[in-house]
C-alpha cells in the first residue's frame, strides 16, 4: 500500500508527463505481480464497486475526527473532494502497517462490503489507524471509487511499456475486453510471447481527429470515403465463439443491448465490426436522448426493447473469417463489410452497413454535411480510402468534420463550486434565457472558459450572490455567455422545458448585458 500510495502521490504532485512516466515505470519495474495488476487496473480508471456507502464513510469520518455534520459539510465544500476532506480531518498518529496493495484490497477493503453499517464504521476507524495522512487520502480514494489522478490510460500503459519492454499498443490490446487484475492475468499481460485479441477481447479503436482546415487541404475528394458522423456511441461488435459488444471506453454493452447481441450471433464466427450503436426511428435513427434511455438501463425490459430498438451501423471490418483485416486498405474492408451484411443468410436488419455518402467533389461534400442534421447526424467522417485501421493511434487519415454547434446567448443565473482541480472555485454554471420577462434555466455547463476567466467569474459569483441553496448560489443575472450545444429536445429537466446536448461555454460575451440575451422562443426555433 505504501508504495502504491507513494506512486499515487508522485503522480498527483507532478503536472509533467515525463515525471509521471518515470514514476510509473519505476513502480511497475519491481512491484509484485498481484500489486502491479491492481495498480494498473486502478490507474486505467477502474474502480472498486462501492465497498461502503458514502453515508457510512462520512459517518465514520465524523466519529473519528469528532466533528458534526454541519462542520463536515463546510469542510467538504471547501475541499471539494470527499476522500481528501476525510484524510485532512483524520487525527494524526496513523502509521503504515506494511500490508501490500493487493492484500489491502482483497482482505480489507473488499471485506467491508458484507458488514452491517455499525461494523463498517468500526472497521473504517481501524483501517485509518493503519495509514498516515497522505496514504489515508489514497485509501479513501479506493473507498470512494475512482482515483482520477491525472494519468490517462495511455500514460499508464506507456509506463508499463517502459518497464516491460512491450509496446503500449500490445498492452492496450491485451487489456481490452474486461481485463481483471490477478497474478495470472498479469503474467499473461506482460508475457513477451506475441498475441492477438481472442474470445471477448476487442481491438484497440482507431480514433479520428477534428478537421481544423478546409477539406480542400486533404487533396482530391476522390481519395476519401465519406460517412455520416452519427450521434450515438461508438462500439465494436464481436462474433467469435459468442457475441460481445464493447464501447470505446472499454465498457461491456452485452447486458444492455441483448437485441444487438442476438443479431450478432447470426454473423459468421470470426467477425469483428466497428460502428455506431443507435436507436432506430423507422428507417432512420432516433435522437441521442432515445439512446440514453437504453443506456440508462443495465438490462432493458421487453417494452423498452420494443419501443427503442437498437441498431448497429457498421463502418469497418476488423476481423473477417477469423483473420485480422486491420492492415488492409479501407476500401477493401468496406467492400467486404457490405458483402458480409448484404449476404442473404444474414438478413440482419439490426446490423447494417452505414449508408454511403457520395460527393463528387468537396463542394458537394459541403452540401452533404449541411444535410447531416436532418438525418440526426453531427456531420461527416472523412477517411482516406487507402488507410489501414492499424493498431496504434495514427493521425492524418481519419477526420471528423462536424457541423458548427448551435449557439445561444444566455445569462448566468446559478453557480456551484466545482470538484477536483476546481475545488472551491465557482465553476459549474446554470444558464437561462428570457421568457415573459423572466429568466428560465435551460442548461448547465462547466467547460469552455480559461482558468483566468473562471477566476474572474468566481469573484463575480462571490460578490453577487443573491441566495444560497446548499452548495448552489443564485447570482445577480448580469453575465452573458455564448453557450454552444449539439442537439436540443423537449424535456422537463429544466424550467425552460428543453434540454440541450453537450452544452459548453463558447465565449464570455462581455460586450452584452443580460437584456441582450436570447429568448426561449429563439431556442425553441432550433427544435426543428
Amino acid at each position: 500500500m505504501k508504495r502504491f500510495a507513494a506512486l499515487y502521490l508522485a503522480l498527483d504532485a507532478s503536472n509533467r508527463s515525463s515525471r509521471k512516466l518515470a514514476a510509473l515505470a519505476d513502480y511497475f519495474a519491481d512491484a509484485e505481480p498481484a500489486d502491479a495488476a491492481w495498480a494498473l487496473w486502478l490507474l486505467c480508471g477502474e474502480r472498486l464497486r462501492h465497498p461502503v456507502p458514502t453515508r457510512v464513510l462520512k459517518l465514520a469520518a465524523m466519529r473519528v475526527s469528532g466533528i458534526d455534520e454541519v462542520l463536515f459539510a463546510d469542510c467538504y465544500e471547501a475541499v471539494g473532494d470527499l476522500a481528501e476532506t476525510i484524510a485532512l480531518l483524520l487525527p494524526d498518529g496513523g502509521a503504515d502497517d506494511g500490508l501490500s496493495l493487493a492484500a489491502w484490497i482483497e482482505q480489507r477493503i473488499q471485506a467491508l462490503r458484507g458488514l452491517d453499517p455499525d461494523a463498517q464504521v468500526q472497521a473504517l476507524a481501524a483501517l485509518w489507524r493503519c495509514v498516515d495522512r497522505g496514504d489515508a487520502f489514497v485509501l479513501n480514494k479506493l473507498l470512494t471509487g475512482g482515483l482520477r489522478v491525472g494519468v490517462s490510460r495511455g500514460l499508464a500503459l506507456r509506463g508499463l511499456a517502459q518497464a516491460t519492454g512491450l509496446a503500449a499498443e500490445v498492452l492496450a490490446a491485451r487489456l481490452a475486453g474486461g481485463w481483471r487484475p490477478g497474478v495470472e492475468a498479469w503474467q499473461t499481460l506482460v508475457s513477451p510471447a506475441p498475441s492477438r485479441p481472442t474470445g471477448a477481447q476487442p481491438y484497440p479503436f482507431r480514433l479520428a481527429h477534428p478537421l481544423e482546415q478546409p477539406p480542400e487541404a486533404l487533396g482530391a475528394a476522390g481519395d476519401w470515403l465519406l460517412d455520416w458522423k452519427w450521434d450515438g456511441i461508438r462500439g465494436q461488435l464481436l462474433r467469435r465463439e459468442s457475441a460481445h459488444l464493447w464501447s470505446r471506453g472499454d465498457e461491456s454493452l452485452d447486458a444492455g443491448f441483448p437485441d444487438l447481441i442476438d443479431a450478432a450471433l447470426a454473423l459468421p464466427p470470426g467477425t469483428v465490426l466497428d460502428g455506431e450503436v443507435l436507436v432506430a426511428d423507422g428507417d432512420g435513427v432516433a435522437p441521442f436522448s432515445a439512446l440514453q434511455r437504453r443506456l440508462g438501463r443495465k438490462t432493458p425490459g421487453k417494452a423498452l426493447l420494443a419501443s427503442h430498438p437498437a441498431i448497429f451501423l457498421a463502418f469497418d471490418l476488423l476481423e473477417h473469417g477469423g483473420d485480422d483485416w486491420r492492415e488492409r486498405p479501407l476500401w477493401q474492408r468496406r467492400e467486404a463489410l457490405e458483402a458480409l451484411l448484404a449476404a442473404p443468410d444474414g438478413g440482419l436488419a439490426r446490423i447494417r452497413p452505414t449508408p454511403t455518402v457520395s460527393a463528387a467533389d468537396w463542394d458537394a461534400a459541403v452540401d452533404q454535411r449541411q444535410a447531416a442534421r436532418q438525418l440526426r447526424a453531427e456531420g461527416l467522417m472523412l477517411k482516406r480510402r487507402e488507410s489501414v485501421y492499424g493498431s496504434g493511434r495514427p493521425r492524418g487519415d481519419w477526420w471528423k468534420w462536424k457541423l458548427d454547434p448551435y449557439t445561444v446567448d444566455a445569462v448566468l443565473v446559478y453557480a456551484q463550486a466545482g470538484h477536483g482541480r476546481r475545488a472551491g472555485l465557482f465553476s459549474d454554471y446554470t444558464f437561462a434565457v428570457w421568457h415573459d420577462g423572466q429568466l428560465l434555466p435551460f442548461a448547465k455547463a462547466y467547460s469552455g472558459l480559461t482558468d483566468a476567466e473562471m477566476r474572474e467569474v468566481d469573484r463575480f459569483v462571490r460578490r453577487n450572490t443573491l441566495e444560497t441553496f446548499g452548495p448552489v448560489r443564485s447570482v445577480r443575472p448580469e453575465l452573458v455567455f455564448e453557450v454552444g450545444f449539439e442537439g436540443i429536445v423537449e424535456s422537463n429537466r429544466h424550467k425552460a422545458g428543453l434540454a440541450v446536448r453537450f452544452p459548453r461555454m463558447l465565449r464570455w460575451r462581455q460586450d452584452k448585458s443580460a437584456a441582450d440575451a436570447d429568448t426561449l422562443d429563439a431556442l425553441r426555433c432550433l427544435l426543428g
Binding site: 507532478s14 463546510d74 469542510c75 476532506t85
Partner: protein, 347 residues
C-alpha cells in the same frame, strides 16, 4: 469579568475600520483617519494616508519602507503602554511576521484584544505569539476550518530542502512562490543554505534587506535582478512572489520546477489550479487548532472573527458557550477558499 451590557462596545466597526470610541483611534483602518494603530505591515492592514501611525518597534523598518517618507510613524515596544485619550493601549507579539502585534486596549477595567494576523507556530524571524487574557477578542479567521492543520515548521523546511536537492540534482533551480513580506524570510530561516545559492526576486530582496536592517539574521542571498542576463542559476533556490512564477520574469529559469508555499496548498484543488509542480503547506496564519488554542487562552467571553471563512468557527465557539460573531472588515481574503487572495495580496 465585568458586565458590559449597558455601555457601547469599546471597539466597533465604522466606515474607516475598527474604531475605539473612547480612545478616538482606529486599528488597521482602510480609509484615511487621523490616528491609526497598525498590527503589521501587510498591505491590507497598513494603508497610506493616515495622520499618525503607531506600530510595534520591531516593525518600524517595514512600516517606514512601505509608507511615504513624510508619514508620521511611531514605534512602541512590545508590552509598553501608551495612553490615548484615557485608553491604555499596548502592543504584544502576534507571531505573524516581523513586528506584528496584537493590540490590547483597556478602558475602565474592560480589556479588548485585536489580534491582527497571527500564528502560534515557531518562526525564527519574529517574536512568538503572546497569549493575552481579555474580555473580548477580535480574531482573524483566515483558515477557519478543521481541514487546515499545519505540519511542523521543521517538516516544511525538510520538504523544501528535498525539493531543492532534487532540482539541483537535475541541474535546474527550484522556484518557490511565497509572500514577499514574512513568508519569504521565514523560508530563508527554515532551509539549509549549504545546498546552493539563493536568489531573490526584487520585491522579496527589498523586504529581506529591511529584515536584516531590523536585526534578523538570514542566510546570504543574491538579487536576481543584479546578476548578468545569462547567469547560471542551476542548483539555486529562487524565492519570488507567487504571481511572478508564471510571468515573464520567471522565464529566465526555463522549465525549472515551481512550488508555492501557502496554507491554501493543503487542498489539492488549490494547488492544481495554480498549475505548480508542488505545494508546500506553509502559512503565517493560525491553523484551525491554533485558532482554537489562541481563543481559548484569552478566556474571552466574546469573540469577534474578521477575515476568512468565519461561519463554521462562529458556530463551534457558540457551541462552547462563547458569544461569537463576525465582523465584516476589509482585510484580505473575501472567502476562506480564495486561494489567490493570500498568495497575491502582497506586492
Amino acid at each position: 469579568m465585568n458586565a458590559r451590557t449597558h455601555t457601547p462596545p469599546l471597539i466597533r466597526l465604522d466606515a474607516q475600520g475598527l474604531y475605539c470610541t473612547a480612545g478616538d483611534f482606529w486599528i488597521d483602518p482602510w480609509r484615511p483617519v487621523p490616528r491609526a494603530v497598525v498590527t503589521h505591515a501587510h498591505a491590507d492592514h497598513l494603508r497610506q494616508g493616515h495622520g499618525q501611525y503607531t506600530v510595534a518597534r520591531p516593525g518600524l523598518g517595514l512600516a517606514r519602507a512601505r509608507l511615504p517618507d513624510d508619514a508620521s510613524v511611531t514605534g512602541l515596544d512590545y508590552g509598553e503602554a501608551l495612553q490615548i485619550n484615557g485608553v491604555r493601549v499596548s502592543l504584544h507579539p502576534a507571531g505573524h511576521v516581523l513586528g506584528s502585534a496584537q493590540v490590547r486596549v483597556e478602558h475602565r477595567g474592560e480589556v479588548w484584544v485585536v489580534s491582527g494576523d497571527y500564528k502560534l507556530a515557531a518562526d525564527a524571524t519574529c517574536a512568538p505569539f503572546e497569549p493575552l487574557r481579555c474580555h473580548t477578542f477580535i480574531s482573524e479567521c483566515t483558515f477557519g476550518l478543521p481541514v487546515y492543520r499545519w505540519p511542523e515548521p521543521s517538516v516544511i523546511g525538510a520538504r523544501i530542502n528535498t525539493l531543492w536537492r532534487e532540482a539541483a540534482a537535475e541541474g535546474v533551480p527550484l522556484l518557490v512562490g511565497a509572500y514577499a513580506l514574512g513568508k519569504a524570510q521565514r523560508i530563508l530561516s527554515l532551509i539549509d543554505p549549504t545546498i546552493g545559492p539563493i536568489g531573490l526576486h526584487g520585491a522579496v530582496d527589498a523586504l529581506t534587506t529591511v529584515y536584516r536592517e531590523s536585526g534578523v539574521t538570514l542566510p546570504a542571498t543574491l538579487p536576481v535582478a543584479g546578476q548578468a542576463r545569462g547567469h547560471d542559476w542551476a542548483g539555486a533556490l529562487i524565492i519570488a512572489p507567487p504571481s511572478a512564477l508564471n510571468g515573464t520574469w520567471a522565464r529566465r529559469f526555463g522549465a525549472a520546477p515551481r512550488v508555492v508555499a501557502s496554507g491554501w496548498m493543503t487542498v489539492r484543488g488549490a494547488r492544481r489550479r495554480r498549475g505548480v509542480d508542488a505545494g508546500v503547506v506553509l502559512s503565517d496564519h493560525a491553523d484551525w487548532d491554533g485558532l482554537l488554542t489562541a481563543i481559548d487562552a484569552t478566556g474571552a467571553q466574546q469573540v469577534l472573527l474578521t477575515h476568512g471563512h468565519t461561519a463554521p468557527l462562529v458556530r463551534v465557539l457558540q457551541q462552547r458557550g462563547i458569544d461569537a460573531g463576525t465582523l465584516r472588515t476589509e482585510f484580505a481574503g473575501e472567502d476562506g477558499s480564495d486561494a489567490e487572495a493570500e498568495a497575491d495580496a502582497s506586492p
